[in-house]
């Protein structure tokens, strides 16, 4: 195993308001890494620091041994190009069809002919169970379908890193479980390193191999490691309360 992403001494702040400080953890290549914690603790903000949308107040994010925020704009863009992101709101471009959404990164970064791009787009949509939906607009789809379409766009360039911001938010339990299975299969087939922001315990226990727990009261991380191991070994009451849904029973429940 080797480190794909390393976060060192990261501090997140909005102006003078510090959200989290001194975050340190490593994401190994091939991990399904979960950023977990209660609402408002800064999970999504941490993701924004990691994908280049917001520079940290202090500390650093390292990709393959390179300090991401000290790279030149071109080098940083090259790192970002290796990542696919699924946003909480799906963030599909509403004026484009699903095919155009998935095709845009391919048109932007490859010299493939339109017919090859069209085939690739159909294949990516088929991977997420949306074969035949090429000409649909995002507004014509359900929330779960939009999430899957956004996932097809995120994997358009066969990324090394996949980032998910609350992937199961707003989904029914079956759709959420199917999305978990899809994430697992894509990780296996693409060999990507997956980072997921979530507080869905069923998803965390079902797919995570590594994690970090952020706490909004102490404004720092309280635990890192495999969530199932944390559940069995952690003595911190806040973490235990979260991972046992307040029951105190150290049982892994994936449904």
């Amino acid at each position: 195993m080797n480190a794909a992403i390393t976060v060192k001494g990261l501090t997140m702040a909005y102006g003078s308001f510090v959200l989290q400080r001194d975050l340190n953890f490593t994401i190994e290549r091939g991990d399904i890494f979960v950023i977990m914690g209660g609402s408002g603790c800064g999970k999504s903000t941490l993701l924004r620091h990691m994908i280049g949308l917001k520079p940290p107040a202090a500390g650093s994010v390292w990709y393959d041994g390179e300090n991401f925020w000290e790279l030149t704009d071109e080098d940083r863009a090259a790192v970002v190009r290796r990542a696919g992101v699924l946003y909480q709101s799906s963030a599909l471009w509403s004026s484009m069809t699903l095919a155009e959404n998935v095709a845009l990164p391919l048109q932007h970064y490859t010299d493939l002919t339109p017919s090859v791009i069209a085939e690739l787009v159909s294949f990516k949509l088929a991977l997420v169970g949306l074969a035949g939906f090429e000409k649909f607009y995002p507004a014509q789809l359900s929330g779960g379908m939009r999430k899957r379409a956004a996932l097809a766009r995120a994997i358009a360039l066969d990324p090394d890193f996949l980032f998910f911001d609350e992937p199961s938010a707003g989904l029914d339990p079956i759709s959420a479980r199917n999305l978990d299975q899809l994430i697992l299969e894509l990780r296996e087939s693409l060999g990507a390193t997956v980072v997921i922001v979530t507080h869905e315990l069923a998803s965390i226990y079902a797919i995570a191999t590594n994690s970090v727990f952020l706490d909004s009261d102490t404004k720092t991380m309280l635990a890192t490691g495999d969530p199932k191991t944390i559940l069995q070994e952690c003595t911190d009451p806040t973490v235990l309360n979260f991972l046992t849904r307040g029951t105190g029973k150290r049982e892994v429940r994936t449904v």
Partner: protein, 331 residues
């Protein structure tokens, strides 16, 4: 409440029905009793009311205070200055990104989709014609009326054609087109980009390494730069036709006479002044609309504010730049 009271209890046997207002009343009593150290027994309250009261106090009230209300004027001025310099920095970055994207475009790289550009050309141009026609004709009519009242006194009503022609070509055509487009298109740009900001669509572009300025802003600005001068020429013609209606119907001038007098009064260079203004207005409206959209926060309220701000900024910029250009051309 009497200071001799040591113990407080509730009796609600005769209470048939209650709602949350009862709880508000009871809470005020409890607060007053606690301040005086009186022991309270809630057992006499209806069971549901008792449980709701316990629930309302289950999580301790978070003590917050408005930091800004305790700040001295100096600190507030400092904070405002930092916020203003932040906004100026954003505007400068945005300007730089536009210049870079425009450079890419001139260098032959295609940072946006042609289909998007033609969509915006249609929205700015063909779809704006009805409202531009209406306003330009009415402005021509108004100018003609105002001029006719004065010039008729000297028997010089033929010069109404000069007044309307020069007024439209040098000033009103560009100004009215600019103001209409600021309200119609500048506001739409701010709302579109603001909504994309709320839906994280702009973040999605950034994380894909695609410049939102090149992909979203440039086609919008180019379409305005192309269409506003054309709309200005159209507004000039419609304004002159509007003026001619008054000339023909009220001043006993023939249409040919009126149009010939207009032709004689207008120089090509004067048309150029109007087109120069329209071109500048096009850039300013596109800039203000897109800047406000890109600066938009992540709520429905922020989209509304961005839209309003885009229109106000555009109109202020139009009037200020109009004054400046007029001063430069006629000093």
């Amino acid at each position: 409440m009497d200071d001799a009271v040591q113990y407080l209890t509730f009796t609600c046997e005769q209470l048939d029905d209650w709602d949350t207002r009862l709880l508000i009343f009871v809470k005020s009593i409890i607060t007053a009793a606690r301040e005086r150290g009186i022991t309270i027994d809630l057992a006499g309250l209806p069971q549901g009311a008792h449980r709701l009261l316990v629930l309302s106090e289950a999580v301790p009230e978070k003590t917050t205070y408005d930091q800004t209300s305790h700040e001295s004027p100096v600190v507030r001025i400092g904070r405002l200055t930092i916020a203003l310099s932040g906004k100026l920095g954003e505007a400068a970055t945005f300007t730089g990104e536009i210049i870079l994207a425009f450079g890419d475009f001139l260098a032959g790289r295609k940072p946006f989709r042609a289909r998007d550009f033609f969509y915006f050309v249609q929205a700015c141009g063909a779809e704006s014609l009805p409202i531009v026609s209406l306003i330009a004709v009415l402005v021509g009519v108004i100018l003609s009326f105002v001029g006719a009242v004065q010039l008729q006194m000297f028997g010089a009503q033929i010069y109404v054609a000069n007044l309307v022609g020069l007024g439209m070509v040098m000033e009103m055509g560009a100004l009215m087109s600019g103001i209409i487009i600021a309200g119609r298109i500048g506001a739409a740009y701010a709302a579109q980009l603001g909504t994309m900001q709320v839906n994280e669509e702009i973040d999605a572009l950034r994380t894909m390494g695609i410049s939102p300025v090149g992909f979203l802003v440039l086609p919008r600005m180019l379409s305005l730069m192309l269409m506003l001068p054309l709309l200005c020429i159209y507004a000039d013609i419609m304004g002159i036709l509007g003026g001619s209606v008054i000339g023909v119907t009220m001043l006993d001038l023939s249409l040919v006479e009126y149009l010939e007098q207009t032709r004689k009064s207008i120089l090509l260079s004067q048309c150029g002044h109007g087109l120069l203004k329209a071109s500048v207005f096009g850039v300013l409206i596109g800039y203000a609309g897109c800047l406000r959209g890109m600066q938009c926060g992540r709520s429905a309220l922020a989209v509304g504010e961005a839209t309003t701000s885009a229109v106000v900024t555009s109109i202020v910029l139009i009037v200020v730049s109009d004054s400046f250009i007029t001063f430069l051309l006629y000093r």
